[in-house]
Amino acid sequence: MTRPHPVLRATVLALGYAFLYIPILCLMAFSFNDSSMMTSWTGFSLKWYVELFNDQALLSAARLSLLIAALTATAAVAIGTWAGYVLARMGRFRGFALYIGMVSAPLVMPEVVLGISLLLMFVEISQLFGWPSGNGIFTIWVGHVTLCMAYVAVIIQSRIRELDRSLEEAALDLGATPLKVFFVITLPLILPALMAAWLLAFTLSLDDVVIASFLSGPGYTTLPLEVFSRVRLGLKPEINALATLFMLTVGIFVVVANRMQWRKGQA
């Protein structure tokens, strides 16, 4: 009686997943199309992939983006884990509401708000101190870390909350300092969550258009900025090829990581 209706369930899920996946599949299929129009199929071809790998502007933008994403993910995991641990374990302290408010604000705040406010601050700071002299990797990094640490904090705090507290308490009873307990007991236990958070921060940084638009300077065009400037006016088949490669890489990564975690949960 409490089981959902099987036909209704199958229909709802089929429609929902079709909506989520048909656009992606179309995009991938047309990256192999011979014609530059994404309107009709004229024949199989890999020429857009060849073009992609000869496109110096896209390649150097990709290198810059990968660098920023790696720097962002590492810093965001460090600060975000710290914030997540505070939220999960530190109890209520004065300013707790402000703390949780600030940590979760970047999750929902429109990115244009984050972008413009950080840019205005960097302009003021460079007026006062003459530094940073121009926008570039550092300013984009600050913006991305602020955005990504919120996601990291949410993932980590829910993971820490699932942990069995008795392990940490036992270590404390045996005389370990709280710091040691964190590094020897807590950190290894949340390692899979840390890796997931690192990857999420990495992909968020790799995908951001809005914050980077405000915080990048001349000569620092990230991959999404380059892609956005090309596609805002219409279809560009080499971007289809790029999207296919990007989505396949991320897809395989996420599926493999998920399978590994799931099997571990089964064992």
Binding site: L27, L87, S104, L120, P224, L235
Partner: protein, 305 residues
Amino acid sequence: MKKILSSGLPGRRWLSIGPPFLWLALFLLLPFLLVLKISFAELKFGIPPYTPLAELKDQTVTLALSLRGYALLFTDSLYIATYLNSVKMAAVTTLCCALIGYPMAYYIARSHPSVRNLLLLGVILPFWTSLLLRVYAWVGILRNDGLLNNLLQWLGLISEPLEIYRTDLAVYIGLVYAYLPFFVLPLYATLVKLDIRLLEAAYDLGARPWRAFFSVTLPLSMPGVIAGAMLVFIPSVGEYVIPEMLGGANTLMMGRVMWTEFFNNADWPMAAAVTCVMVMMLLVPLVIFQYNQIRQLEQQRGKTQ
């Protein structure tokens, strides 16, 4: 025991709470206060392109608060139409996400655990891939000579292509598509924890399925619905990329107007004022979201301790 874990020494406590707090104060709170300040400045030529609020001249401090930006924002009908339209578009998007996302989250949560993991992965996966590229995928589908129109014409359902690309409808499709996972995931998290025995009790007491849904499942899943709705509504109001790629020239949205003021007109005080009004409008949903987060946090904490 709990005390030692959660408090340590008083001085140490601030040291352990402080650093993330400091980062956020420096790169989130302070910048926003600066936006607030600049929204009261006057436009001028130079670097930076706005006047200082307070000036020390001849041993007197003159404080100049310009209300030009706000005066324009609250009287110009185009700006007012933009706010109303942004809120309307975000609200409709949220409603659509709820109508599509609730049944999805419900059926995923009620699936067999082995299938459930796979279904959940299906919702998470788009969330991991690039939003920009996923929105771009719709351009090829919705254009007048795009896949959807070709399909419909081939089926003989329409003779003239439908005008969807570069209209509000395309923006709605893009917004719902991009934000659907943000609704499904938090809702799924609450639905999967729902105690099935409560539903069984409702059925045993003679409730029909719909009655059981509206008086047991829906009220208990409200925190997930609120979290999901806010995660969709708040960012949608300020969305820039989706209306820019799929919308027409007359698709009015705040994120876009702010962008134009800043990059095209180089009017920083005006852009700052638009930003402040946007945040003010989002204050109520933001508070609901935060309150909901804190309440969920405390409930979980109550359970684990």
